[in-house]
């Protein structure tokens, strides 16, 4: 392993050592409000820099969540330094993911007729990394204007076939799935630049994410929205590690709204945790924590370790959001603690 890569691996593992522990979360849960939580977070080195500008004025829940997201992106940037330069390289994946998220958000606000809302919502810190002018998305008034903003990006080619009429907005689910399919294709393609050992391990990590995406699709479309199995099959990601098309069909055919969760609990990814919870999102987070913590400790490849660290950081952010929202809505400390996912 090259010295620089070894340094990234060591740095990532050290960063994980500074993650918040269960007792930290418990002490945060006991705080009286968002402001107190933010003040308490300032005392942790990992958060102090980002939250230092926050004074004694009331901090809104949404504002706190945006700060957490910004911190995450900054952490990624600090670890990568110059890797962002290659816009087709694997390490650009977080930007791609954020770009897709923002495009979907913009379309969502557009189709709801409240395009202005996107201005309030979009993260300004992204504009330095995005492959298009994210601010311009805030000014678009119809789908064709949106396509113009995306003109010289790969997303344009993905969305163009979906454009029906000049001003008509295609179905949001179709847009989201098309963009995600492109994202996973691109991600798998980007791994080809890595040496074989690293490529295989990275590929497995990505394919596992594809599996979880498809399972989530099943759960949401079939279990929550009650859509047809055909719809799920059409929108699925055509890649898999352990959750094949056949298994997916099997799940869709056998399940209904009530039994789908039971069937999902039996999937190998979740078997270990099925006794602990019946909450789907919590099940996925627990499975991710288990998987990525192992990868972070065991893998020798900086790409895998870095990816794992970012996934674990996302889990930490989700935990903090859970704490903030739980405190904001006066949930009991036990019920908040049950929703947290952490190792120690």
């Amino acid at each position: 392993m090259k010295a620089a890569k070894a340094a990234v691996v060591a740095k990532a593992r050290a960063k994980y050592g500074n993650f918040l522990t269960l007792s930290d979360y418990k002490s945060l849960i006991l705080k009286g409000g968002v402001n107190e939580i933010i003040t308490a977070l300032k005392s942790y080195p990992a958060f102090s820099e980002e939250f230092s500008s926050v004074g004694n004025v009331a901090v809104r829940r949404k504002q706190a969540e945006e700060m957490l997201a910004k911190r995450l992106f900054k952490l990624y940037g600090d670890l990568l330094r110059f890797e962002f330069a290659d816009k087709n390289g694997f390490f650009y994946y977080r930007v791609r993911r954020e770009e897709i998220k923002q495009i979907v958000n913009a379309v969502m606000f557009l189709s709801a007729g409240v395009g202005d809302m996107f201005i309030l919502q979009f993260p300004v810190f992204l504009k330095d990394y995005c492959s298009f002018d994210i601010g311009s998305l805030a000014s678009v008034r119809d789908f064709s204007e949106l396509m113009l903003v995306l003109k010289n990006t790969p997303y344009y080619d993905v969305l163009r076939p979906l454009q029906i009429e000049k001003n008509d907005i295609p179905d949001i689910r179709t847009i989201e799935n098309a963009l995600n399919r492109y994202y996973f294709d691109w991600l798998l393609e980007s791994t080809k630049k890595f040496p074989s050992g690293e490529r295989e391990e990275l590929k497995k990590v990505i394919l596992r994410t594809c599996d979880l995406y498809n399972i989530r699709l099943c759960y949401r479309y079939k279990g929550i929205l009650g859509l047809s199995g055909e719809m799920v099959m059409n929108n699925r990601i055509p890649h898999s590690l352990r959750f094949s098309k056949l298994q997916m069909e099997n799940l869709l055919l056998k399940s209904d709204n009530e039994t789908i969760m039971k069937l999902i609990s039996g999937i190998p990814y979740f078997k270990k945790f099925s006794g602990e919870t019946q909450d789907f999102e919590l099940l996925i987070r627990k499975s991710n924590l288990d998987y990525y913590a192992k990868k972070l400790r065991m893998s020798q490849y900086d790409s895998v370790v870095l990816h794992s660290l970012m996934e674990l950081s996302e889990l930490e952010n989700t935990n903090l959001t859970t704490v903030i929202e739980g405190v904001r809505y006066s949930l009991t400390s036990d019920s908040i603690t049950e929703m947290l996912v952490c190792e120690k």
């Binding site: 500008s53 004025v57 809104r60 504002q63 202005d116 201005i119 309030l120 979009f122 300004v124 810190f125 601010g135 805030a138 000014s139």
Partner: protein, 770 residues
């Protein structure tokens, strides 16, 4: 060397004297109050606990305002010369002081708050100094809403997307990730604009209406005004300082007295009240009773009497240890384990002697012992460390044994050790140094262990008999039976292995080993058998006990009554299965009782007032219906038995426990019995072996000092002196500490565990909180 004997004192008097009495009780420092005595004895229906309003609270608050305002330190001082007593006196004193102090204090507070307000406003307005319009003009806009404030820099970048909107944002400056500025919105769109800015995390800052002029003028104006206030504040402070110098000493004394009165007033919650008279009872060490009475007699109209009391679960006197100066510091270890009960044995002397002895044996060094002693004196004198006096004593013990071992700071050539003295020297095989007698040392350690364990077992037997716990005294592991077994095996093994005398003959084994083991195995049924036999007697003893106590307790009976009681007491002792009922009956009815002298009950009067006679009737259970009917007809009113008369009665839980024990199956009993027997046997062995450490540490100490001496070398120079000093310091610090812990372990586990129960209640003299 015992537990201090206690007298139960009752103090009563008119309610208005309660505060003074409480204050005096606190001053005696020897009164342990029993707050529940009266309610427990006579029932809560009769006596109420004194609960009052917080009468000193307002005065204390006023005193605190003055103290803080004048900047007087929060000290408590002696207030002997303060004559203020009543609430009115204090009120007058504070009113007088408030007249001169409060205007200044209020002015100071007002100025401080203004200065703070101006400081805050300045902090905000400074960021708007580039504003080129008058604040007053902006505030007076009627059709445009004006909002000053700041927003995150990121949000500011988003503002350009709202180009079509009707608001205008004017930035002043960007600082610390925020953009300061003002936005203007038409009145009609102000709600929508406010929503947008809220979404952009705009923090509105309210500018007070006294701010005027453009940004720069406003800042200057505010600074000028603030400095004016600061000048006024300085003048006010001078006035306050002068006043403080004038009244500080007197005020501190008055406040100290007020605090004492308030805190002693809070103790009123522990006093019982009936018919506008207060009653309290508590324990006073017997030898301090006279001093206590003398101190309290300073309060007029109160009655102080010594009451008789009897020990039971409800009346548990506190324990105050009393030991000679040599042993007193070791009370700390006893308290650490738990105080003995009032009627228990104080083990302090035993702990002190064994601790000093074992420590000295384990860490014997003349020089180091004296150093520890010296350290103890220093720590006691300058730091008042509780361990100091113990260090002084164990240091001397260490020095004494060091002298015997011939060890001075590890040097074994300066003094002749005891094993070099004839005929011991030849008898021990002419050992060169202490390592040559290591086997003797280990054997001696075991002998010490056997002796200490035996003493502890004897103490357990004595205590158990005193407590009437016959199972523990006769059949328990540490009872007579266990002692016979332990000594038989220890002595037998010592004589056979040490001197070759064949001890373990079949008769010896059967008599001293097998039979004690069998008794140990069947200790529960045997104890149960004894308990059954004594149960009937206990019932009788308890009630006879009550009857006997009745005569002692009563102070109002004349000679004739005493004869009557004695005659009746004989009758009670002849009765079987009796019950005793306490209560009162009208005085006329009591006279009628003489007509029932042939009936099968006995009535014993206890005390009387002008209307009623208080007493107990005893009746065999088979005649209880008859007796109850007669006493009902006589207007006898049942009451709760006073604590000093009643005896311990088994609770429901203990009854249940006994029943469950009886139901144990034979199989369970045998298995448990054998396991317990094995465990007991093992504990005898391990506890004795545990004392091997005594010998072990003698050798380890000699070994450590040998290393220090080797490191120091044979020639004496600066280096070797430094090594010797550091080495000795290290050994004193490390080994001295470890030996202390080891000895404490031996005391607590091998010795205390055999006979001692730390279930006593600490004697806590009544005092105010601080």
């Amino acid at each position: 060397m015992a537990v201090e004997k206690m007298a139960l004192m009752s103090v009563s008097g008119p309610l208005k004297k309660v505060n003074k009495t409480l204050a005096k009780c606190c001053e005696t420092k020897c009164f342990h109050i029993e707050p529940n005595y009266y309610t427990m004895t006579y029932g809560s229906a009769e006596f109420k606990t004194l609960k009052d309003k917080d009468i000193y609270g307002k005065l204390i608050k006023r005193a605190d305002v003055l103290k803080n305002g004048l900047g007087i330190p929060d000290n408590k001082v002696d207030y002997e010369d303060i004559t203020l007593e009543s609430l009115h006196d204090f009120d007058e004193y504070f009113s007088q002081l408030e007249k001169s102090a409060l205007p200044l204090i209020n002015q100071q507070a007002e100025l401080k708050s203004k200065i703070e307000e101006y400081e805050q406003v300045l902090k905000q307005v400074v960021n708007m100094s580039s504003l080129d319009a008058d604040f007053r003009d902006l505030f007076s806009c009627k059709h445009v809403k004006v909002r000053f404030g700041k927003m995150p820099s990121e949000s500011y970048t988003k503002l350009k997307f709202y180009g079509e909107k009707s608001f205008v944002f004017v930035p002043f400056e960007e600082k610390d990730g925020f953009v300061w500025g003002v936005y203007f919105a038409p009145l009609n769109d102000s709600v929508q604009t406010d929503d947008i800015f809220t979404g952009l995390y705009f923090e509105r800052i309210r500018i007070p209406d006294f701010v005027s002029g453009d940004g720069e003028t406003a800042v200057n104006e505010l600074r000028l005004q603030k400095s004016l206030f600061e000048k006024q504040l300085a003048e006010t402070n001078i006035g306050l300082v002068a006043l403080k110098q004038h009244c500080s000493e007197q005020f501190t004394k008055v406040r100290s007295k007020l605090i004492f009165l308030n805190e002693s007033y809070e103790l009123r919650g522990q006093v019982s009240v009936i018919n506008n008279r207060f009653h309290m009872a508590g324990f006073v060490p017997k030898r301090e009773v006279d001093a206590f009475k003398a101190k309290l007699s300073e309060v007029p109209d109160i009655v102080i009497e010594e009451k008789k009391y009897f020990l039971d679960d409800r009346m548990k006197p506190p324990t105050k240890l009393r030991n000679i100066k040599l042993f007193k510091p070791f009370e700390m270890f006893v308290k650490m384990y738990g105080l003995p009960s009032y009627n228990g044995i104080d083990p302090t002397a035993y702990v002190a002697i064994t601790f000093m002895l074992i420590y000295g044996i384990m860490f014997g060094d003349l020089g180091q012992g004296l150093v520890i002693s010296l350290l103890g004196i220093i720590l006691t004198k300058w730091k008042n460390v509780k361990l100091g006096p113990i260090m002084t004593r164990i240091g001397i013990s260490s020095a004494f044994f060091g002298f015997l071992y011939g060890s001075v700071f590890g040097n074994e050539e300066l003094i002749k050790p005891f094993f070099h003295i004839e005929p011991l020297y030849t008898a021990m095989g002419k050992p060169h140094n202490i390592f040559g007698i290591s086997s003797y040392l280990l054997i001696c350690a075991l002998v010490i262990g056997v002796i200490l364990i035996t003493i502890s077992m004897i103490m357990n037997i004595v205590i158990s008999i005193k407590r009437k716990d016959y199972e523990s005294a006769f059949f328990g592991n540490n009872g007579i039976n266990g002692l016979i077994f332990y000594l038989a095996v220890a002595i037998g093994a010592a004589l056979q292995l040490g001197f070759g005398i064949p001890m373990f003959s079949p008769v010896y084994i059967v008599v001293f080993v097998v039979i004690p083991l069998v008794i140990m195995l069947f200790k529960e049924p045997l104890a149960h058998l004894i308990a059954q036999n004594t149960k009937r007697n206990v019932l009788q003893i308890n009630h006879s006990h009550i009857a006997n106590n009745v005569a002692k307790h009563s102070t109002q009976l004349d000679v004739n009554d005493s004869e009557f009681i004695n005659k009746n007491l004989d009758k009670v002792s002849e009765m079987e299965h009796i019950r005793a009922v306490y209560g009162r009956m009208p005085a006329d009815s009591f006279e009628k009782l003489g007509y029932f002298d042939k009936k099968e009950f006995v009535y014993i009067p206890l005390s009387s007032d002008k209307d009623n006679v208080y007493g107990i009737y005893f009746v065999p259970k088979k005649y209880k219906v008859m007796a109850d009917d007669i006493f009902n007809d006589l207007g006898f009113e049942r009451m709760r038995m006073p604590a000093e008369l009643s005896a311990v009665r088994p609770t429901k839980e203990s009854k249940k426990k006994n029943t469950s024990k009886e139901k144990k199956s034979v199989g369970n009993f045998i298995i448990e019995g054998f396991i317990e027997l094995f465990e007991t046997f093992l504990s005898y062995l391990t506890n004795t072996m545990s004392f091997l450490r005594v010998g072990g540490f003698i050798l380890s100490h000699a070994g450590m000092m040998l290393v220090v001496n080797v490191l120091a070398g044979d020639t004496l120079n600066v280096g070797s002196v430094i090594v010797l000093i550091l080495g000795n310091a290290f050994v004193i610090g490390l080994e001295g500490f470890i030996v202390g812990i080891q000895v404490l372990r031996l005391e607590f586990y091998e010795i205390f565990g055999r006979f001692y129960k730390g279930d006593g209640k600490e004697f806590v003299p009544m005092q105010v909180k601080n």
